[in-house]
Chain length 340, copies 2
């Protein structure tokens, strides 16, 4: 097991092809510098021997690993991570196209361990970081910024406009899509179940709904507030459904809240889609399982953008002028298919 497919080095390829190391290197990186017949010959040998440049040697020389770190949050429920997982997946898939790869890490201790980030860079384990689940007051962004460690965040950094290395989803646009979809589907009243006022993300999503309702010519529509857990969601759903009544719909700030509404509706014997329309947010496993419509985030695009961002920073580019918002789309499932 020790001689795992003994590695082929550039020297062996060079010898076999009757050229120097540098010509082999050029064949891969600067083919235009190599005469076509030589190029072909070297390429053939590379193929035959199955040569792959050593990542370690390249890293040592270039002082770049090509790796991007991503912290998985151990604390917090599986639910908290409902978005994080599909996102790592998207990152891992897209990384190849950027010539890099993703290194995940998670600390057992609850504290963020900022120094861990710095250590990983100093030890040349990763070049940069992608952050998710950034929250107001997140210490990581200022820390990385000040330590001059390149990073890009999925999620706005609300309180600090000077930190611009982020991409986020236009939540207001998402709830607007959901609301307009419900109105168009024929639900006469479209209420909203959201989080308590004051959270930036929550306010953003609520505004999308509110404006869509207004634009459609309605004065006001029922609205309720709940925390991000099923019990709270279901409790709030009761009075809300009373106001909305059969034939209406509810747009929610998250899939979890939507599930609460769905439970309450089911308890009343209302059929999903026909008697009540429900739209969630995030298109997580919950909405997939429960089968209700949800606003879905373009994770692949976001991953792609963030990777491009850190790489341009690594290449010496200045920070972007401002963050980028991506438009979510709506995944329509049975929950809003009104058989009018």
């Amino acid at each position: 097991m020790s001689d795992v497919a003994s590695r082929v080095t550039i020297r062996e390829v060079a010898d076999a092809a009757g050229v120097s190391r540098q010509t082999v290197s050029n064949t891969l990186i600067h083919p235009e510098r190599v005469r076509p017949p030589t190029l072909e010959r070297v390429r053939k040998v590379i193929d035959e021997l199955g040569y792959r440049p050593s990542n370690a040697a390249q890293s040592l020389r270039s002082q770049r690993t090509g790796a991007v770190g991503f912290e998985l949050n151990a604390t917090g429920s599986a639910l908290q991570n409902a978005v994080a997982f599909p996102f790592v997946l998207a990152l891992s898939e897209r990384a190849v196209a950027h010539g890099s790869h993703i290194v995940t890490f998670g600390t057992q201790s609850a504290r963020p361990a900022l120094s861990g980030y710095e250590d990983m860079v100093r030890s040349l384990l990763v070049d940069a970081f992608i952050l998710a689940d950034t929250h107001a007051g997140d210490p990581r962004l200022p820390f990385l910024d000040q330590a001059r460690i390149p990073y890009a965040a999925f999620g706005r950094f609300w309180g600090r406009p000077e930190l611009t290395s982020w991409a986020d989803v236009d939540g207001a646009h998402g709830t607007r899509l959901a609301t307009e979809h419900c109105l168009a589907a024929g639900y006469d009243v479209v209420g909203y179940l959201g989080w308590p006022d004051g959270s930036a993300v929550g306010d953003d999503r609520r505004n999308g709904w509110a404006r869509a309702v207004e634009r459609a010519g309605h004065r006001s529509m029922p609205r309720a507030i709940a925390e991000q857990d099923l019990t709270s969601a279901r409790a709030a759903a009761g009075p809300l459904l009373d106001q909305i009544g059969r034939g209406g719909a509810v747009v929610c700030a998250s899939d979890m809240l939507a599930l609460g509404v769905e439970r309450e509706a089911a308890a009343r014997g209302w059929t999903l889609g026909r008697d009540i329309g429900i739209c969630g947010f995030d298109d997580s496993a919950i909405s997939e399982i429960a089968g209700f419509s949800s606003v879905t985030q373009p994770l692949q695009e976001i991953a792609d953008h963030l990777l491009a961002l850190v790489h341009s920073r690594l290449a010496g580019a200045p920070p972007p002028v401002e963050g980028v918002l991506f438009r979510p789309t709506l995944v329509v499932r049975g929950s809003t298919a009104r058989a009018s």
Copy 2:
């Protein structure tokens, strides 16, 4: 941004401490070879300068990266990955203790791309792999085995007893725990909702329930079969609940199936826990959200074991004699809290 906290090398530490490179190296790796006063002096300098050995240089020299690859399955629903995500998390957390880190990758193409595994090893990107979601006939295990690439799998490789580098969960023990718990809690009839016969994992779990029922002195108990989706689960749950009746319980092969039972019970107005007991399997986000008891897998322990396994293989140890089974435990939630 280019001069990211210019890296400190071993040479700089050596000069600052008035010793040679090797002494600095020994300070970190073989402290017993260094005279105490020297040790202390060098350590102090390391601290002051914030020296961290270059991972790239170490890898080049040792021909080991210390990285372990893990494939995230892009195809397949978020549900398929319900276990995979907490598992990457566990791996990422435990990796530190093994002096390694996890590199995730995912292919956009549907095909497994076995050659990708080999490339990653040849290019010295990772030393070994951890596999999850292995299934009967999974081409990756024989491939890696034959290519002499170290790996360890989460999940038995049923058809091939000679492949022993795996750890798995004792499914039968899990369903047995669930069944005994339900009987002890006072549910008179404990039925089972599982997958169609023939799947190794499914048969294993069913056996655990069957034996527990038998051991408790019951001749036979109701049983039904469903596919791994909510519609199928709910359809199968109907007749099953008819047989079981109020006051009974259902042990399920997965959380998804359990959710189907829960839905059906709710539709009948049965209160979870009091009128009907439900146990899921996997302790995924589903059971967390829906609040029912579930069999939980010791992912941290498994991750730890698998990492130890690949590292011992890397160190030249022979393959293990046989795979290892870990005993799951039961997370009790309201769904089986009988207010007898």
